[in-house]
């Protein structure tokens, strides 16, 4: 066997390696301090102390009060709980039945809205611009006094565009007395200050593994008196909003990863933006290549390009063979690359969407990763463009 080529990992929007700080922080909570924080004895208390300390840390980094942080088993659960839980609670109070989601939300939000639609809620989808920004005028026209939930993500997971959440909040508050605003900040927390950009948002979802924490842990910030109907019921942990024995190690890992992220964010953003600019400049030598998503509104880590005449599915195979890990569309459970609903919402036709790939950088990215991509990708494109069908 030939030695494997060096791996250039450009899929940080899918997941990141666990930061050493997070790993070290978590390790004591598997064997040494293994208690169930709901218990009353010393072993339990030690775990409870760690859990609450993690809660305080996450709250501080997201601009929330400790009592507002609900730990979940990841971003999807946080999104589901926010959208479904808030809508059901509002209906129980007779406040309305309207749910507004942006067209390019993650499926964790869109599927939750679909579920609510089957339960009789009115689901309205707000369009987005060609540059990947929620259309504020259209949103304003869709929110009315019966609206109970509005969900607009802080950063889009495919094209990396940052959304004008303060404007969203202003629009919603002016039009609906009861509506709560939710934001999926899963892709945002690694890059922008959620505490500032989502300051007036009622519900905020985050996920640990997008910023150097463990998979299977997330949190939902639930402000003040926002009512939620829980999805998972039982022992009443997490203020009754998320029953189940607490994932202490996960919460500690999230807190440590988020703290490390916040502490180094400005350096990481500067470093990654430099890598990103060099990567984009290098890729732009490929004839016809275009960038998806408004470049002025992007996080530093996102490169999303379309390459005319290329099928992303084939390009990803050639990149993988050369040790370059990238992605296209959104992965479904079978592993197939589905045509992106995000790109469709931005007005790309099917062929252009299927010709687009995402290269996402992160805190662990290095100049060598960019070199590797620029070494491999143009050659792979030339190979695919030179291929002539043989079957007929």
């Amino acid at each position: 066997m030939e030695p494997a080529p060096p791996t250039a990992y450009l899929d940080h929007a899918a997941t990141t390696p666990v930061r050493p700080e997070a790993l070290a922080a978590m390790l004591p909570f598997f064997a040494e301090t293994f208690g169930n924080p709901s218990g009353g004895h010393a072993v339990a208390r030690a775990a409870k102390t760690a859990l609450e300390s993690a809660r305080e840390s996450v709250a501080a980094d997201l601009g929330a009060e400790p009592g507002e942080v609900v730990f979940t088993a990841g971003g999807t659960e946080a999104d589901n709980l926010a959208v479904e839980g808030a809508a059901r609670a509002a209906r129980e109070r007779g406040q309305g039945d309207g749910v507004v989601v942006a067209a390019f939300e993650h499926k964790a939000v869109l599927a939750a809205a679909d579920r609510l639609g089957r339960e009789g809620f009115r689901i309205v989808v707000a369009p987005v611009t060609a540059g990947g920004i929620v259309d504020l005028d259209a949103l304003a026209a869709l929110v009315d006094e019966h609206t109970v939930v509005v969900s607009v993500m802080l950063v889009n997971n495919e094209v990396g565009t940052i959304q004008p959440l303060a404007d969203v909040v202003r629009i919603v508050r002016a039009r609906s007395p009861h509506a709560v605003v939710h934001t999926d900040a899963v892709q945002a927390a690694a890059w922008v200050d959620v505490a500032v950009l989502a300051a007036d948002v009622d519900l905020i979802s985050v996920s640990a593994h997008k910023l150097g924490g463990p998979k299977g842990t997330g949190a939902l910030v639930v402000r003040g008196d926002v009512g939620l109907v829980p999805l998972i019921e039982g022992g009443g942990q997490e203020r009754g909003l998320r029953s189940g024995t607490s994932n202490v190690a996960g919460a500690v890992g999230l807190a440590a990863a988020l703290r490390a992220t916040v502490a180094t964010r400005s350096e990481t953003v500067a470093h990654v933006a430099e890598l990103r600019d060099r990567l984009v400049a290098g890729l732009e030598t490929i004839p016809g290549l275009w960038c998806n998503g408004d470049s002025d509104a992007k996080i530093a880590g996102n490169v999303h390009v379309g390459i005319p005449g290329i099928e992303a599915e084939a390009l990803l195979v050639l990149l993988d063979r050369e040790g370059v890990c990238a992605a296209a569309g959104s992965s479904c459970s079978s592993g197939a690359t589905e045509p992106s609903h995000v790109l469709a919402a931005m007005g790309l036709d099917r062929a252009d969407a299927l010709a687009s790939i995402r290269l996402s950088l992160g805190f662990a990215s290095s100049p060598a990763d960019v070199d590797r991509v620029l070494d491999v990708l143009p050659t792979a494109v030339a190979q695919l463009r030179g291929a002539v069908g043989v079957s007929r």
């Binding site: 030939e2 099928e311 599915e313 084939a314 990803l316 195979v317 050639l318 993988d320 063979r321 459970s333 079978s334 592993g335 197939a336 690359t337 589905e338 045509p339 099917r350 190979q383 695919l384 291929a387 002539v388 069908g389 043989v390 079957s391 007929r392």
Partner: protein
Amino acid sequence: MTSPRVLVAMSGGVDSSVAAALLVDAGHEVLGVTLKLWGGESDSGCCSVSDVEDARRVAAQLDIPHYVFDYSVAFDEHVVDPYVDAYSSGSTPNPCVECNRHIKFGLLLDRADALGCDSLATGHHARRVRDERGRAQLQRAVDSAKDQSYVLAMLTGPQLERLQFPVGELTKSDVRAYAARLGLRTATKPDSQDVCFITRGGREQFLDARVPARAGEIHDTSGRVVGSHDGIARFTIGQRRGLGIAAGERRFVVDIDAPSATVTIGRPPDLLRDGLLVTSCTFVHDPPARGAEVLVQVRAHGQVTPGRYTAGSAGGEIVFTEPQPRVAPGQLIAFYDGPTVVGSAVAAA
């Protein structure tokens, strides 16, 4: 030195699992791929998530990369839509053949080429051999009970040059034994039986959901009305079951007239034909000489029948040595010379 690169279509079944394993053993650089073909509600077929997981797991056991390619739009266009159209026009489609023609040995073979693969392999039971002139030929599988050369009869010489069917050299029990020896999780998985996109409700429910059924009359061969039906899509030439007619002796569907939605039933002799009109002929290499004797196979596990090839290269008539039951329009016709596939055609109306 780099070894030849082979793309293996892995359905998640035992045959394609072993095809991949044999190629790995032979020293090839192997890439596994599973096709997502059907986005519909069926979870019984070759593109369900559990089958993808089986293929992925086998690829991991073999230490080869595995990918999923989404051909669901092309599958709708080339396989599902024509399937529905065929039934509603009174003919009997063969969706697995059309999938082979357009998807596996069309789009996927092109993709293999684009990826720089020297060949594409599948788990079909058929043999690709070289004749004395060095040309690629397609022959029946070693395991005649599992032979699938019929559904591959549309392949041409240039396509066969780039194809491999490793399990065609083994019996099915050898295939399973090989899989078991390697500890592959698919070793004891049952063979797939049905059309992959047909749900548990069956063909009729699938068609009912897509085309408005038009009720019509059932006639006997003298034109007398003997019954009625809810739609022609549930009938195939030669069908005996489900006619809803209480007759003294067994009756078969002998004709379907789509414009009038009339189904004609008759006795076995009413089905017999001296020949068969065909269209859309393909040939592995050269067409048979006009009037040459060929062996004709009209269904996947049917017998071969001798006939004379009097058609031109595009279409025409096959004259049987003995009268044969009428072939449903739309069925694939495979021509053989002994064990070797000569070409294919489609039964005309």
